[in-house]
């Protein structure tokens, strides 16, 4: 199965918009529709902004994936920024009021089906997310 990867460099806030657009294109190709497209684009917007705000630059890699007869998208957002010292806390801080600056991560996790975060202080952060077409 072809796994073409789309790399979107994230350097500047306009790249957030580009990342959203590419994600929507890929998700449409994979077969997502309607609100799922918006949900995926929104989750990517959050992690992309995270990169811009906290790490200055990084990249988002998008690809189509398959597990059994389920199709979906895989999003890997990585940066070589300062890293997240307290991941559980970052995943807790939040969005309910949206007043705190928040890292957008708990929100992204809520939107996607699978969410993993790997971060090392001084080295960087990698976030891996997947969403599957609901059958």
């Amino acid at each position: 199965m072809a796994t073409d990867k789309t790399h979107v460099p994230i350097d500047h806030d306009v790249d957030i918009v580009a990342a959203r657009r590419r994600a929507r294109e890929l998700a449409t190709q994979v077969g997502f529709s309607g609100s799922d497209l918006t949900i995926i684009a929104t989750a990517i917007s959050e992690v992309a902004r995270n990169i811009v705000v906290y790490a200055n630059r990084g990249e988002i890699v998008l690809s189509a994936v398959q597990r059994g007869n389920q199709r979906g998208v895989l999003v890997v957002a990585r940066d070589e920024g300062p890293g997240i010292p307290d991941i559980p806390r970052a995943m807790r801080d939040g969005f309910s009021t949206g007043k705190s600056l928040g890292l957008g991560l708990p929100g992204a996790r809520r939107l996607m089906d699978e969410f993993e975060i790997c971060s090392e202080v001084g080295k960087g952060t990698t976030i891996t997310m997947r969403k599957w077409i609901r059958q």
Binding site: D13, V14, I16, V17, R20, R21, R24, G34, S35, L37, T38, I39, A41, T42, S45, E46, R49, V52, G94, F95, S96, T97, G98, G102, G104, G107, R110, L111
Partner: protein, 123 residues
């Protein structure tokens, strides 16, 4: 890309034309604040019907616009949130926290007129 803001009597109508970057949103916030001050507008409508994503930053900016215009004596209504966008916002946990919303421009103007009339009556 700057968002065009039209003046219609006491109202300002900002129609977002395309996907906005963070900088564009900040500029919109500043432009609206400036014009409300200049024209002493009573109501502001922000039409987001073109947006296919409303993330935390965009939502926060809209709330900020609502708050700043209130400080300058105007009421803001957000119109045109699309079904998929509304679903994603709710799942993400984003709210517009008390800023009124309406389906479209027509409904938004109707809402603003009602609230402005009520305010006048109150005086």
């Amino acid at each position: 890309m700057a968002v065009p803001i039209l003046k219609q009597g006491d109202m300002l109508i900002a129609s977002i034309q395309s996907d906005l970057s963070d900088e564009d949103l900040e500029k919109l916030r500043d432009d609206v604040a400036e014009r409300v001050g200049r024209f002493k507008s009573l109501g502001v409508i922000i039409d987001v019907s073109i947006l296919d994503v409303m993330d935390s930053f965009a939502t926060r900016m809209l709330r900020t616009i609502g708050d700043t215009t209130k400080l300058r004596g105007a009421k803001t209504v957000i119109v045109g949130i699309q079904p998929e966008v509304a679903i994603a916002m709710v799942q993400l946990g984003l709210t517009l926290d008390g800023i009124p919303t309406a389906l479209d421009l027509e409904e938004g103007l109707r809402l603003l007129k009602i609230s402005i009339t009520e305010r006048h009556r109150g005086n």
